[in-house]
């Protein structure tokens, strides 16, 4: 599909937990500024793939490259440093921190100050703090969450928590954003909003997005390309139209007799 090196490349990635092979020989790519979907029935290994990409797990075999460099042995925070940000299937905010601080903490990677500066509190430190407050406010206002910025994150509505998690991930300035089932638990109207939001983010922040999602409407509606997993193996790859017509995918989702 594309000529340049992909942003993210998985080559024959396998991971075994004892006797269980959770992901087996998966190869996949995500290009710069591409919106890619990763789908599959329950237990197909989608979240495991996410955890492999973000360094939570190390692959038993195969290699993962991000921006042309192998990611083996890097810890999750080091991958975030290199430009991979993520959200979680079951929202993981910092519940007792305010909405504002949830986002501000994520600017962390681009901080010039450290522990010592927070004690000396010199003019440089002061300036940076003011600037960070400004940028946090700006980011929150793009998604109109500034009205609740002083509330603890746990007091937000479910939909707002989902959005806050995405905003927080954006504050790390990623090149690749991984969204783990962002539409889970949303009603149809919220899902439409979410689709608009994801497309808006991709355009505004010029990044690639890898989307794990159960909801076919969401995936088919916005993704440019889709990878399909079943039992830890990749069974198909293609545009939404190709995936919709793929017999293996239909068999995986609806059973053999429908294929």
């Amino acid at each position: 599909m594309f000529m340049t090196t992909p942003l993210l490349q998985l080559t024959d990635v396998t991971i075994r937990f004892g006797g269980l092979t959770a992901v087996s020989g998966v190869s996949a790519t995500v290009g710069e500024r591409e919106l890619v979907g990763l789908i599959g029935p329950n237990g197909a290994g989608k979240t495991t793939v996410f955890n492999l990409i973000t360094g939570v797990y190390q692959p038993t075999e195969g290699r993962i490259e991000f921006a042309g460099e192998p990611t083996a042995k890097l810890r999750p925070f080091e991958l975030t440093e290199r430009g991979i940000a993520r959200t979680f299937q079951n929202i993981r905010l910092f519940p007792s921190l305010t909405v504002f601080d949830n986002v501000r903490v994520a600017f962390h990677l681009h901080l010039a100050h450290d522990a010592v500066h927070s004690l000396t509190r010199g003019p440089k430190f002061q300036r940076e703090e003011v600037e960070l407050r400004e940028r946090t406010r700006e980011l929150l206002s793009i998604f109109s969450l500034e009205r609740v910025q002083e509330e603890p994150a746990k007091s937000l509505s479910y939909g707002d928590q989902r959005r806050l998690e995405i905003i927080r991930a954006l504050a790390t300035r990623p090149k690749l954003l991984l969204l783990d089932e962002p539409a889970a638990g949303m009603n149809p109207a919220e899902k439409v909003e979410l689709m608009k939001l994801i497309q808006f983010i991709q355009e505004k922040f010029r990044l690639a997005i890898l989307l794990v999602e159960h909801d076919m409407k969401v995936v088919m509606g916005i993704c440019q390309r889709i990878h399909v997993l079943e039992y830890g193996r990749k069974i198909a790859e293609g545009t939404p139209a190709e995936i919709r017509a793929n017999p293996a995918v239909i068999a995986a989702y609806l059973g053999k007799e429908h294929a």
């Binding site: 975030t80 979680f88 305010t98 504002f100 903490v105 994520a106 962390h108 500066h117 004690l119 790390t172």
Partner: protein, 319 residues
Amino acid sequence: MPPKSQLCLLAALAVAGVATAFAGRMDPYFLDVLLSVGVSVVLAASLNLINGFTGQFSLGHAGFMAVGAYTAATLTKTLGAKLLPLVGGQPWVLLPLALFAGGLTAALAGFLVGAPSLRLKGDYLAIVTLGFGEIIKVILQNVEFVGGALGLNGLPTTLNPAWSGVIVFATLAAPMLTVYVVWGLLNSTYGRGFLAVADDEVAAEAMGLNTTRYKITAFVVGAFFAGVAGGLYAHIKGTLTPGGFDFNKSIEIVVMVILGGMGRHVGVILAAVLLTVLSETLRKFGDYRMILYSLLLIVLMLTRPQGLFTWPLWKRKAA
């Protein structure tokens, strides 16, 4: 113009200076309690950084206190006769240096204990620090150089006119410095990382925070101030025995942090003051004091699990 927080610190240190000048006219018992309160605040505020703000569970604060106490006491007493002439015979120079050295050795011990165990998530730290406290006690009981089980006696105290001023000033200034450091560390974008680690380590890591480093930083800074507190304690009491730094002592500090409300600046300071004064007034009941402590904890956990001093007035706000 320095920031407001530093002006506050300077003002507080000035108050400590004035109080030191009047120390000679204070009732000796009152002065003794005041100094004990100072040590407790240092201990509680520093443990609050580890257990409260960063969400780890250390049970080894008495162990770090012992390391600092014995280091400082060795420098002022055992080696004091040699070292004092080197600094012009000035306790005003030797004591701060000894306290700093005590803090550094405790911080080093904290690093050695924390670096391997803080990589792990969960309750390992509690078990490791518990073991560490016991090990330190046993080591001190068996090292003749520091007096073995009998401990060290005859340290310079406030009864010694040459030392009195610096001991009082250091004991009043240390809690202010500790509170400033803990407050300063937390009130910055960098420092919000400690709170993030406490809230959700996995999410913090995903946001690019080196969670291990945060935990070790909190632990080492906490151990440093526990060491300083130990050094102060040594020069208030004048005697050190390994038994004084047992598990009960660690628990006492943990109780202060829980009672004050984990991760609350003002609450934990108030709890440290309250419990120290309370335990002084309960001294006549001797060992039964610990029964009262346990009862207090049980009642507290049933009625105010979030801590005693946690009114909205002091809630963590976006600074």
